[in-house]
């Protein structure tokens, strides 16, 4: 177990800068999720921690020791790859024990460690199979078993669930989280799925275009997004945004709709702003509500999603109630003013 510190890390391929001055602290035993849109540099960052990618600038430290020039095998890290990367000609047990075999660990000890890991992951009955004879979820477990067997300082995961179907993904998500709680190891987990990030992380690092947009506990990113990018990335369906200005103590959108505010930050009046409200923070009806023209209603059992127009802006709402309005009709919704986010239109930053 160990901490990982990333200091002003940079990575460039010729003239393209892929990682631009990233600094992250991962505490001992923490589960950190790197999340961001495709191509933002998550994998590159993870691979730099692993030593699979050279470092163009800055430092990677594990337990305080600079790793920049240390070869991957000496970093004492284990990585779980997106497509599992299991050796096809080896059995499950051989796959899991391979790193120990290379370290010249005794056969009996390898066996014991492999069996223990197989037990944790309920793989014991599959130890003699080859990867080809396993299902996707089982292969995923073997890949994790291979990491566990090594008892590394840090576990690295690169989108390990993206090849699984939706149901299995949810199940494995829970399993990885349980594994983390059981082993108490430091884990860095890459995903582009914000739900995975929210549900699994102790700390989320939200990246965009080679930079960190915001990092912190999941609910902090959800409750207090630092800018428009974070606000739109975290949460599903994503936050509603309305351009406008504050006039006479209320927010007026460009199409003239007046939306409620709990308090007005000083100096916010008069300049172009963005009003953000999450779909789940809209209520049906209510005094002081606004009229929304219904476009589509999607009942999903436990909740109902509403797609409509607020003035000329698009609006999405998620309600616990069932809605019977038809397209073209108008419903009244009220933003809960405590949960409104205001952003500066020019910089995109939170006020």
């Amino acid at each position: 177990m160990a901490s990982v510190e990333i200091r002003n890390l940079r990575k460039s391929y010729a003239t393209t800068h892929v990682i631009k001055d990233v600094s992250i602290d991962v505490d001992d035993g923490q589960f950190v999720v790197l999340v961001g849109p495709s191509g933002c540099g998550k994998s590159t960052l993870l691979r730099m921690i692993a030593g699979l990618e050279t470092i163009s600038g800055g430092e990677v430290q594990i337990d305080g020791a600079v790793m920049n020039a240390v070869p991957p095998k000496e970093r004492d890290i284990a990585m779980v790859f997106q497509n599992y990367a299991l050796y096809p000609h080896m059995t499950v047990a051989e796959n899991m024990g391979f790193s120990l075999k290379l370290k010249k660990v005794s056969k009996a000890e390898i066996r014991a460690k492999v069996e223990r890991a197989a037990d944790i992951l309920s793989l014991s009955h599959l130890l003699d199979r080859r990867p080809k004879q396993l299902s996707g979820g089982q292969r995923q477990r073997v890949a994790m078993g291979r990491a566990i067997v090594r008892d590394p300082k840090v576990f690295l995961f690169d989108e390990p669930l993206s090849n699984l179907d939706a149901k299995l993904r949810v199940q494995m998500r829970t399993e990885i989280k349980a594994l983390h709680q059981r082993l108490g190891s430091t884990m860095v987990y890459v995903t582009h799925d914000q739900i995975e990030a929210l549900t699994m992380a102790d700390k989320i690092v939200l990246m965009n275009d080679g930079r960190v947009e915001q990092m912190g506990p999941p609910l902090e990113l959800y409750d207090r997004p630092a800018n428009l990018f974070v606000a739109s990335f975290i949460g599903s369906p994503s936050m509603n945004f309305f351009d406008g200005t504050i006039e006479n103590g209320a927010f007026r959108t460009t199409s003239g709709v007046v939306l409620p505010l709990a308090q007005i930050p000083s100096g916010a009046e008069g300049r172009p702003l963005v009003y953000g409200i999450r779909p789940e923070h809209l209520q049906l009806g209510g005094a002081g509500g606004v009229a929304v023209e219904v476009a589509v209603i999607e009942p999903a059992g436990s909740e109902t999603q509403l797609y409509g127009k607020l003035g000329t802006d698009d609006l999405v709402g998620v309600f616990r109630e069932r809605l019977s309005a038809r397209p073209g009709e108008s419903v009244t919704v009220t933003p809960s003013s405590e949960q409104v986010h205001l952003f500066d239109k020019a910089t995109g930053n939170r006020l």
Binding site: K73, M79, L102
Partner: protein, 309 residues
Amino acid sequence: MTEVPSRNAGGHGQAEKPVRLSGEPFAWRHLLYLAPGLALYALFCLWPVIQTIQFSFHRWDGITDARWVGLRNYIQVFTSAQTLTVFGNGLIMIIFYAVLPVLIGLLIVAIMTRIRIRLLSVFRTVLFLPQILATVVVAVAWRWIYAYDGPINALLSAVGLGSLSRAWLGDFDTALISVGLIGTWINFGLCMVLFIGGAQKIDTQLYEAARLDGAGPFQEFMAVTLPGLRGEISIALVLTVTNALRNFDIVWNTTSGGPGTSTLVPSYLIYEGAFITRNVGFAAAASVVLTVLILVLTGVITRLMRSED
């Protein structure tokens, strides 16, 4: 595993379906569609094979009436000192035509998986070139290279090793090796191209996983590259072993089997028997033995190289 056959044996009538595509009952008429192809195959492939087998039990000079001699030709093939040397030469050729090219090919691929080689496609084309060139051209070129006044000897005397120079193809000690190395040169390009193609299909994450697991270059090769190239190695061996045992044109165009019998190979012996010494029965028996040898060897190779699943 065991449930699969029993399910078919259960016989819900499903097992038979794929055989009869249209669902209509089998009719002899269907064989008619196969007839033209089968006829050509029989005429140009099966018939000569059958005839050869038939000849192998006869004594025949190709002109007068053939005389049944039973197994005598085969006994001669297996007892004559010369024939045994010739088949021995054929087996030695396997080392040069098959084993060496495959080993060199694997070595280069192993290096390439560690170091990216620029101009890969140029490299590949150049290496594959011997495969496209007519063998006669290759043989003539190498005859010149090996000649007493050729570049190899010139190079040797230039570096002060002139005492080693000789007529490489005319020397009892070096002729077989020299002919063999031509085969190595021809076939190694083929192996390379097969292996490079195979190596490019191997998932790069496997190499990274091996590196993280702590594998060095050799262990990485054994754990990732070699198993990944299993199919390609098998194909390369089948092609080159067949090539080695059938080898005729290179020998014909460089040494004609000489000096003495030192580079005589089975195909050459068969050619001599059939068309020069007019001992057709013996040549046929040797052909049958050679064919069986090739079938057995390639069979063993494919069986050994087949992955267990």
